[in-house]
């Protein structure tokens, strides 16, 4: 049986890992390579690297860090941030990424997902969506959660899967950084409409939030979090022990 995955997410800017609250007021933490090695040897099932730099210098630094991480860490790596073209897919895959996550790039260029899926396979293409409730609707936000696209999130996700996205990361802006639990209602809605793995992101504050996530929405494949792992509030080993005690299948 496939185990539920626990995925630490590393937002990388100018060579360091950062994590903010509600996407604003970003704080720096530490070396992404060291952090990746630490997580890999302490039970992480996969790592997500988001490049949140905007400059070309920052991008170069990011790909160097990615290459170094991939040469030391032997678990699946997903890379996102600044993925707008097939050349961007190529650039990060060559550095050792296994999957590539697209977000705003897919909104700007609707052909990106189908083209990438055809070239690299569905399993390589991850659609990451920042979702916020607006007037009772799940709405897709772009540009790191700053811009309301007006798109209905469920329709957008369904279209992405039909176009070849092999996995969905659902990041709830409403619960992100608040540490009061994952957005169960939003995740249930997404799991009902897709047949590819759904990764829950945004809102984890403690171990019980993961237990609740997998118990209440058993179709969710993975839980992703950043700050609670980075600040050592929850260790992945300990979290997995708790999940196991709650009869949730994990890799120990």
């Amino acid at each position: 049986m496939i185990t539920k995955r626990i995925i630490p997410c590393l937002d990388v800017r100018n060579g360091t890992v950062v994590k903010g609250t509600n996407f604003e007021n970003l704080n720096e933490i530490s070396s992404p390579v060291q952090l990746a090695e630490y997580y890999s040897s302490h039970g992480a099932d996969e790592l997500v690297f988001y490049d949140i730099t905007a400059s070309s210098d920052g991008r170069k630094l990011f790909t160097d860090i990615l290459t170094e991480t991939a040469s030391k860490v032997f678990i699946p790596l997903t890379v996102g941030g600044g993925i707008n073209t097939l050349e961007d897919f190529d650039r990060v895959l060559k550095c050792g990424a296994d999957k590539v996550s697209v977000n705003s790039g897919a909104i700007r260029n609707p052909d990106l997902i189908p083209a990438a899926a055809e070239k690299y396979g569905d399993q390589c293409v991850v659609l990451s969506v920042d979702v916020k409730r607006v007037d009772g609707q799940f709405r897709v936000f772009a540009k790191g959660g700053r811009e309301d696209t007006g798109l209905d999130a469920l329709e957008w996700i369904k279209r992405g899967v039909n176009n070849g996205a092999g996995e969905i990361v659902v990041n709830s802006i409403d619960t992100d950084g608040v540490k009061k639990g994952f957005d169960i209602e939003m995740l249930k809605a997404v799991c009902e409409i897709v047949n590819v793995p759904v990764i829950a992101s945004g809102g984890a504050g403690g171990k019980q939030d993961f237990v609740d996530l997998f118990n209440i929405v058993p179709d969710v494949s993975a839980g992703l979090a950043a700050s609670i792992f980075h600040y050592g509030e929850v260790t992945i080993d300990d979290l997995k022990k708790t999940l196991n005690e709650n009869n949730i299948t994990v890799r120990l």
Binding site: A70, G121, G166
Partner: protein, 204 residues
């Protein structure tokens, strides 16, 4: 020296790094003499069966690989490289494999329950079917990382481990000096490194 067969399929960066990590000298090559000189061979691969089989034949290396494998050189196929060890693959048509191991490669679609996603992707536990030298350092039930939509069938006598995904998916095979892993040892953390290490110690 270990030879990783280069036939233009897939990214070999992680595999090279993981071998380096366990202290094994590996070269990525499509040169028959290098393959003959190597003390063991890995056939990697991602993508579709037919396309990969065609690319492998186009290198002109098939005879060399067959001779080396028949001469008893330790040989490991990974993911699609494992699937190519079988007689036939049924991915977008019917394609000839290397035929080192009896069996065929068929789609998981239609044989696993409909509520399970395809590809079979993620960490799954190995269920040992028999002892194997490549499992020397790992335990029954250890998890490894899978990403695949097809699996080997009609190959019972060479199955050394399965993984439960609605059905018993063929996870690893072994026949004499020839081994295959459907999962990715180079992406399976410590367990994967231990499998590679055990393979690299066969015959030493």
């Amino acid at each position: 020296m270990l030879a990783i067969i280069d036939y233009g399929v897939g990214n070999l960066f992680s595999l090279q790094c993981s071998l380096k990590k366990i202290g094994v000298e590996a070269v990525v090559t499509n040169d028959p003499d290098t393959i003959k000189k190597a003390d063991r061979i890995i056939l990697p691969g991602v993508g579709a069966f037919g396309d990969a089989a065609k690319k492998l034949r186009a290198t002109g290396l098939v005879d060399t690989i067959k001779t080396e494998a028949e001469n008893g050189k330790p040989f490991l196929g990974i993911c699609l490289g494992m699937q190519l060890l079988f007689e036939k693959g049924y991915e977008y048509g019917e394609h000839e494999g290397l035929g080192f191991i009896k069996g065929n490669v068929v789609a998981l679609e239609g044989i696993i329950p409909e509520n399970l996603n395809i590809p079979h992707m993620g960490w799954n536990a190995l269920d040992f079917k028999c002892e194997s030298p490549i499992f020397k350092y790992i335990n029954d039930g250890d998890c490894v990382y899978f990403v695949h939509s097809y699996h080997a069938t009609d190959c019972d006598e060479s199955v050394i481990a399965t993984a439960e995904y609605g059905v018993q998916v063929t996870a690893a095979v072994g026949k004499g000096n020839i081994f295959g892993c459907q999962f990715h040892p180079e992406k399976s953390g410590d367990t994967g490194l231990k499998i590679l290490k055990a393979f690299c110690e066969i015959g030493e």
